[in-house]
Every structure is written in structure tokens, then in C-alpha cells.
Assembly symmetry: C2
Homo-oligomer: 553 residues x 2
């Protein structure tokens, strides 16, 4: 296999990197208080590959040879660990199932095509053999978009796009870059950055996810307020289908019927294999700055973000954590020796009458020319002040910026110690955000009561739009071992139901997969699902392309 | 029929309003030079209703009574003039066909439902009777999206949404307004404006087109640079289908599979009847200003618009007319007595070495707080200057703003005098705009040579995006009477082919209908059309919903 990196089979990221709470004195007490878990310094119990029972590949030698003839025998692989890596994404359900050796169906073969022509040939061979193709990017999905149906009797091919990783060309006169679908975040930004450009798309999964995956799941990034979600960024698309290539040219806007571009966005492999995307790119800004702000309560923070979204400023990042999430952030801080500015600040706020347990930590990002950043910061400062907030400068922003891709490692750390954590996010009109926030908290706490475990939930606003925003929830609890997934289901279901019951969508940027599919009809209506289902059935009558996702059997 | 306005059956707008060149001394010489047409002050020859031969309605009394029972007998109408108004849109092909009494198939009945429930009942009755439903908004379409198939043997219902014209509610806490699909532009802005809001959507057809029509054709407005195209503005949608309502909730962004919202946008009636749209609305800005600028040549104007789109400013309007269109604008100016600032300006430019025949007139709009408008104007002024341009203040902008919806009247004036005029527009990456501009001019001139008539073509950039822009072409020629449509086809085809041959889309904001359908495969690829076709077939297997549009038989 031609040098395609993949994440740990058992967790997030690469071997050798892990979360640690060394020198974070507030962390263990925080975890104890939040979910009742006692951190005693022990390493926890991870899982060993030799403990797993893996189903064998069902591919016959003739078909394997046929695929090998297309991509090279080195790139059509039936190795067990590689098949395991390609079985699931990285949701807590996925991680729990791997640890429990709950692997009813794994892909039979992992195929690494070198280019679009090889993708086409694999697709043709697969459709001719009535096999199933599941496109695979970075494997970071947390919505169950990657797993084969447990009852799938046909050969399942995991089509790893990892070798299609080039920035093909940059149209500097337009701000457009042709990039292959399997390119991972850091590699894209490195290649663009070397020529003075940025794509500006930084999802939490950035370090391990791919452009094709972003498009297939309608991803958003941390700086989407300015650069747009991937649906805005991706202008041109190429997707391999059995009869040929869908080729959407990179025009800035078009009035050419129901948007085929927008059918491919979010299609999660059900319509074909995305091979190339032409994205908008921007000149690396002169100044890039993320500033920290504090708000005395959640409602004030939300109101400020709303007013900023209506203002003449257009920050790259608008983020505000509720009191619980802010408390979590403070608890992961490193121990200070000597002068501790945080301590001084807290004393000051206390003197001004703030409830220190109720502080909402906010980050707002600015990019552009030096004078423009100064201009926007001034507008934002006025709004923050109006809502009782306080600017705390660049220091916290630098810290946030450094750590922003690290959170998933914490989940493996907790899992090794018996606690399950995952996320759910929604988007809704501004007028309903506080209602949703309350409803989700109530639903989660009721769920924790139902499963008889003290649980944790926290939230932040992660993206602002003109008429609404994304609320992002993280939840955790000490699970009951064999009952962990059943417990997770109770909590996850409660949160998702609260979203749709209060005007939110079931997914702002994590796709639908299998995880969110049960709520799709409640979100986009039965008739909306019927339209989408008609598209899938017409495009893939024999269900060869990642079936059982978005709309499930 | 409950007080639903419609346009003239023979042309644009309402009776009593028409283009005149009184007091426009440069106009007649301009027209003479451009297309060889001699304006001699005579009224021209229009068309009389009594000259037309109209096919009778084929609806039987039982079905008519059934529809009448749903909407009231006053609102299920077989009147000839009303059927004629609902047969075509307002393309030059439509106007020529009406004047030639070329009316092979007219709707059999025009139905005016009062609300969504009545729309549902009409849809059910129509599908049960295997009739055809063609939704009708303002009738301003110029892409052939409204006409029945000439060979249609079934009953054809024109479903006029004109009675669904209310702003249902405004969510002031989110900047969202629920508006019925049949509401026309001025009525929407009036109702929103009374409460301090604007939708910011001003297509050329604004005074006569409807929200539902904008959504069904993926419309753009003059201020879309800031407010977005209708695809950005329309967040929530309701569409009646035979089995029920598609109900897309107004969330700001979602990751819920292929976007059903974006399937409805641009669907031109093929998926069902749009009844309600929840749109983003904005607080009426403190300042609204359109400024005039001049550029010494087209390339400089385009380069300036591009740089503005990459800058920290975000104007509402970016428009630059090429030398020919600028000449046309100057020629429609009123005669001045006494001091004529235009003359003074021209003398000044001549002294500075400008080619006065090569001037490119530009308009750039600004909205926001007073200080923000000043800030953006300063950024824009610097860029304009850098590209050799010159600001000429608010005066020309005020004039542009006043006249911006009047151009279509000129077309009827010319038609009465034997000249045909229409428009075609594209969108493409910045790097290809000059190439497209040249290619379209060459193609049009070759077409004029082919049809043996001196023809005119002019162009402006009408919308800027980060990675490209819309180029809008207007063309005109003295037609040959019976051969007019054949001549028009030669010219129109040449222009559309130049679009796709040089990286542009076949339609930026006028939809596909029948007019642009021949180029759809060349634009979004054969496989792209196949995906869309699958959606249509699955959603409407018996072709009851405006068949033969976007993808034609």
C-alpha cells in the first residue's frame, strides 16, 4: 500500500500521541465532580488487537485478482488490521464496538486506487460483480457512515482515496484550487500555503480528515463564519459513477435546475465516488488573530454573537462556551508558578460581582489586513461590552488555537478508564437557541437518570450565520461495560429528539450516516426524505454504493 | 378571480406604462447606428387580441366543476385572455410567438387557490385525473419554463399562486420571515419595510415576479453580492406534493444528506408546488448608497471588481458595463439645458487621454451604518484608482437606482418597430471572464453575419463572488418577420455555446426551462443530468408536474 497514513485502529489519531493530565492539577477533581470518575494515575485498560475476533474476508481470489490487476496487487489488501481500520469511523459507538470485538461485518478488501481512472475501473468491476463500494477518506466519521450493513452478503470493498492526495493546480487568477479528494487537511494547507493561499477549512478532524470526506458529509470548519461551510467552498466536483464521471464545473453560482453539486455534497458515498474537488482559496491574510472574551452568562454570550452576526463585522470564528464548558476549559489549564494572570482576572471579576462558576468563555477570530482587523475588533468590542462581556486578549486565543484539534484524544483517555464521551450538534434560528440549550440539558439529565449514572453535558456555540447558529454539545458518563452502547443510545436519542422538537436540525456538520438517520424524517419531513430516497434509488438501483446510510433499510 | 394582477398579455409590465424616447436626443441615432433601425417618431405596429387564433380549452365540465369546488368557481377560469397570459413567459421567443399567434397549446384552465390546503386539493385532483400542473408566479420567466408541451394531450392547469401573497410572520429575533410563494416583490418589501426589515432581493423582474418564482428558478438580485442569491436567502421551504407537504425547516445550515432544499431551488415546478418560503431578512440599513465609477477599459473594470471581491469591503452591488453598454446608457440620457456635468466630465477625461468611446460605466452599492459605508467606500476608492478608474459620485447611482427595473419595457418598444432583443447571462471564474466576453462577442457577430442582419451586443458584469462573476449580455437585431425566431435561435445558440465552450454556466439566474435545456449536458455533464433526471422521474413518474422543462423530452 503506497504510504497512506491511517489512524489507530482503536482510537483517535496516530500511535504515540495521547491525552495526559500531567501538570493539570484541576483536571482530576473536575472529572470526579462531573461524572464521578476517580483518576488515580493508573494507565487504564486499553484493548489489544489479539483479543479481537475478526470475521474473515469473503472475497474470492478471482475478484481480488481482478481488483489487484487494476490498482496493483499491493493496493488491494485483505490484511485484518487494515480491514478493521476501514470498518468503522470514530464515534463512541465505533470505539466501544471495537473494544467489545463487536464486528459482525468488516470490508472484505481495502483498495487504494492511484487516480480517477483506477477509481472508475474499480467501480466498473464492483458494479459488474454486484459488490458494495464504501468510499473511505480519513476514517474520522462519527455518524456511522462507513460501516458495512451487518447482513451484507455481497463482497464489500472499502475504497480508500488516500493516494489521490494532490493539489492538482491553482487558478491564481480566480482563487480556485483543484484538489484530489483523498488529500488530508494539513497536506492541503501545506501545499496551498507554500504558494500563499489558504482554503480556510478547519474542522475538528482537520489533522486526519480529507477533502472528499468533508464534501461527502457537508463539513464545517472553525473559520466557516468567514470562509463558508464546505458547501460554499466546494465549487467544482468530479464523481465517478458506473456510466461515467459527473463533472460539475467550478462556477461561482448557477441557475441550472436542482443543484447536482448540492446532491453530491452530503451524499456520503451513496451516489458515487468523489475524486476531485475545485475549492475556493484565499490569499493568506496579513493578520490572523483569535481573541478571548468572557460573558457573565450564556444568554449574554448568545445575544452578543447574534448582534455580531448582524453587524458590519465579519469575524472568522465566533465561539462561546456555556458555563460548564468554560469550567471544563479552565480545568484543563496547566499549573502556573509565580504570577497567574487567570487568578488576578478572577479576583477582579469577583470584585465586579460576577458569578465565577457562571463565566462563559468566548473566542472570536479576525483575519484580513492589519487595519481591517483593527476595524472589526473595535465593532466587536463595542458589542461585547454592550452585553456585559469583557475582552481578555490574545493569550487565551493562542492557547485555543494550539489545542483546537486535540480534544478527540481525551475521549480515548476516558474510554480507557471506563467513561464514554461523544458529541452532538444542531443548527437553529437565533430565537430558538436558548430554548434548545435548556431542552437538551433537561433531556440529557433525564437520560442520565434513566440509565442511573451521573452524566456530564456541556455546550458551545460554534458557528454563526445571519439567521441562526450551531450549538455543539459534548456529553460523557461512566458507562456500565456491556451496557455501554445501550446507555449511550438513551442519552444520544434524548439529545437528538430535543433538537428536532425545538426547531433544530439533527446535524449541522457531522452528516447523517446511520447515527442520525432515525430523525431524518422529523427534520426534513417524510416527503423530503421521499424525494431524497427517490434520488438514491434512481442513481443506485442495485444498492452498490454505500447503501444503508443517510436513509437506512 | 380575487384581484390577482398580471402583466400585459402582449408584453412587459402593466397597461399604460411604456418606454419613450421623448427628450432623449441621443437615442434614435444610437439605435440607427447599432442595429440600422430608423426611428421616425411613429408608434410602430403592435398586436391586437382579435387578430389571434387561440386553441379552445379542452377541460371537460366535470373536471372544471371539481376544481371550482376546491377554489371556488370564480377562481377556476377558462377565459381566453387569462389563458393566454398564462401560456408563456416574457422571453423574446414568447413575445414573437404571441404576435405571430403561434399558440399550439395553451393551459386549459387557470386556477387560483386561496391557500396551501387548496393547493393540496388541486394537486390531488389533478394527479387523480392525470392532468398537468404548471405553477405560475408573476409570469416574467424568459427561459420557457411556463409553456405546456405542444403535444400535451392531457388537461393542462396553470396554477396561479397569486392569492398566496402574505407575509405570514416575522421572527424578529432571528431575521427570518415566513412569506407565501405568490407574493410579488414590491408587496414583500412594502410589508417587510413597514416593520423595519428588507429581504434585499431585487432581480430585474422585481416589480412583477414572485418569491415562489425566484426560488423555482434560483434567482439572483441586484444586491445579491451582500444579501446572497435566493438560494442563500431561502432557508425554509414548503412544497405540495401528491403524498403530502415537503417541509424544510429554516435552519441556517445543515448536514442532512443531499440537500432537499437545494433540490427544490431551481426545480421549476417539476417536483411540486412551492407554497411558502422562510427567508432571511435584514434590518433596513442606516445608509444605502450607489455610486458611479468610470473605467478606461473593460479589463480594468473587471480587474477592479475582482480585487474588490477579494478585499475587506463587501458592497451590495458591483456592476461594470462594457464600452458598448456604457454607450447605450449615455444614449438613453435626457437632454440637458444649461450646465451639463456629463459634458464637463467628458472634456476632462479627454484631456486626460481617455478614449471616450471606450469608457466603462460602473456602479457599486454600499449599505450599513454611516461609518461602515464610509469605510468600505474608502477601500473601494483605493482599488478603483489603482485600476485607473474614476469615482463620479452618487448622481449616476441615483439615476441607475430609479431606472433599474425599466429596461424590459424597451424591448416591447423595439418589437413594435421590428427589432428583437433579449438577454443571456453566465457565471464563470474570474480568470475566464475576458475570454468569455471576447468569445461571446465573436460568436454573436458571426451569428449576425450568418443571418445577414447588423446586430448589437453589449454586456455588463452584474454579480461578483469570491471566485468568479456573472456576465450579462443583451443583444438585439432588426428581425425578418416570419424568420424572426429562426434568426433569434442562431444568435442565442451562438452565445450559449460560447458560454459552455469557455468555462461558463448556461444560466446564472434565469433558470433552464426549455430555452437553456439543450446545453445542460455540456454544462453539468451527461452524468450530472442523469442524476437530476433520476430525481425527476422518481418524484413524478407520470409527468404531472410541469414536464418537459429543465430536462426536455
Amino acid at each position: 500500500m503506497a504510504n497512506v497514513k491511517h489512524m489507530k485502529w482503536w482510537g483517535w489519531g496516530v500511535e504515540g500521541i495521547a491525552f495526559t493530565y500531567d501538570n493539570k492539577p484541576a483536571f482530576a477533581p473536575f472529572v470526579k465532580k462531573a461524572v464521578g470518575l476517580e483518576l488515580d494515575g493508573s494507565a487504564g485498560s486499553s484493548v489489544s488487537f489479539s483479543d479481537l475476533t475478526l470475521p474473515s474476508s469473503t472475497i474470492d481470489q478471482a475478484f481480488l485478482a481482478e481488483l489487484g490487476a487494476i490498482v496493483g496487487t499491493d493496493n488491494a489488501i485483505v490484511d485484518d488490521e487494515l480491514r478493521l481500520v476501514h470498518t468503522y469511523g470514530k464515534s463512541i459507538r465505533d470505539l466501544l464496538r471495537i473494544r467489545a470485538s463487536d464486528l459482525p461485518r468488516m470490508p472484505d478488501v481495502v483498495v487504494y486506487p492511484a487516480d480517477e481512472a483506477e477509481v472508475s475501473a474499480v467501480v466498473s468491476a464492483a458494479v459488474a460483480a454486484n459488490a458494495v463500494i464504501i468510499p473511505f477518506g480519513g476514517g474520522s466519521n462519527i455518524s456511522g457512515s462507513l460501516e458495512p450493513h451487518p447482513g451484507e452478503a455481497r463482497v464489500v470493498i472499502s475504497l480508500d482515496l488516500g493516494r489521490l492526495n494532490k493539489v492538482v493546480s491553482i487558478d491564481e487568477g480566480s482563487g480556485l484550487a483543484r484538489i484530489q479528494a483523498g488529500a488530508q487537511g494539513p497536506f492541503i494547507e501545506e501545499q496551498l500555503g507554500a504558494r500563499g493561499w489558504t482554503m480556510g477549512h478547519f474542522p475538528d478532524s482537520f489533522t486526519h480528515s480529507t477533502l472528499g470526506g468533508w464534501v461527502a458529509t457537508r463539513s464545517s470548519g472553525m473559520q466557516s463564519d468567514k470562509y463558508g461551510d464546505i458547501a460554499d467552498i466546494a465549487r467544482g466536483l468530479r464523481m465517478v459513477r458506473p456510466a461515467g464521471i459527473v463533472d460539475i464545473r467550478p462556477v461561482p453560482s448557477a441557475s441550472t435546475g436542482p443543484s447536482v453539486r448540492e446532491m453530491i455534497l452530503g451524499s456520503e458515498g451513496r451516489l458515487g465516488v468523489i475524486t476531485e474537488v475545485t475549492v475556493q482559496v484565499h490569499r493568506t491574510p496579513e493578520v490572523r488573530e483569535i481573541n478571548g472574551y468572557l460573558f457573565p452568562n450564556w444568554e449574554a454570550g448568545i445575544a452578543a454573537m447574534h448582534e455580531i452576526s448582524e453587524s458590519d463585522a465579519r469575524p472568522t470564528v465566533t465561539r462561546v462556551s456555556d458555563a460548564r464548558e468554560s469550567g471544563f476549559s479552565f480545568a484543563t489549564g496547566k499549573a502556573k508558578t509565580g504570577f497567574d494572570p487567570q487568578k488576578v482576572l478572577m479576583a477582579y471579576l469577583k470584585r465586579r460581582g460576577w458569578d465565577l462558576e457562571g463565566i462563559n468563555l468566548s473566542f472570536i477570530g479576525f483575519e484580513g489586513s492589519k487595519s481591517h482587523v483593527a476595524y472589526e475588533k473595535k465593532i466587536v468590542a463595542r458589542i461585547v461590552k454592550k452585553h456585559g462581556g469583557l475582552g481578555v486578549g490574545k493569550g487565551p486565543g493562542v492557547l485555543y488555537d494550539q489545542k483546537k484539534f486535540d480534544t478527540p484524544y481525551l475521549r480515548d483517555f476516558l474510554l480507557d478508564r471506563g467513561a464514554a464521551a461523544d458529541v452532538s450538534e444542531t443548527a437553529a434560528p437565533w430565537s430558538r437557541l436558548n430554548e434548545i440549550h435548556d431542552a437538551v440539558y433537561a433531556a440529557a439529565n433525564e437520560a442520565y437518570e434513566q440509565i442511573g449514572t451521573p452524566g456530564w453535558i456541556m455546550s458551545h456555540l460554534s458557528h454563526s450565520y445571519h439567521s441562526g447558529a450551531c450549538l455543539y454539545f459534548t456529553f460523557a458518563f461512566v458507562h456500565g461495560g456491556d451496557t455501554a452502547i445501550a446507555q449511550y443510545d438513551v442519552v444520544k436519542r434524548a439529545i437528538q429528539q430535543a433538537f428536532v422538537d425545538h426547531g433544530g436540525t439533527i446535524s449541522h456538520h457531522h452528516g447523517v450516516g446511520r447515527e442520525h438517520a432515525p430523525w431524518l424524517e422529523q427534520d426534513i419531513s417524510t416527503e423530503g426524505v421521499a424525494l431524497m430516497s427517490g434520488l438514491f434509488t434512481a442513481a443506485d438501483p442495485k444498492k452498490n454504493f454505500n447503501p444503508d446510510k443517510v436513509i437506512t433499510y
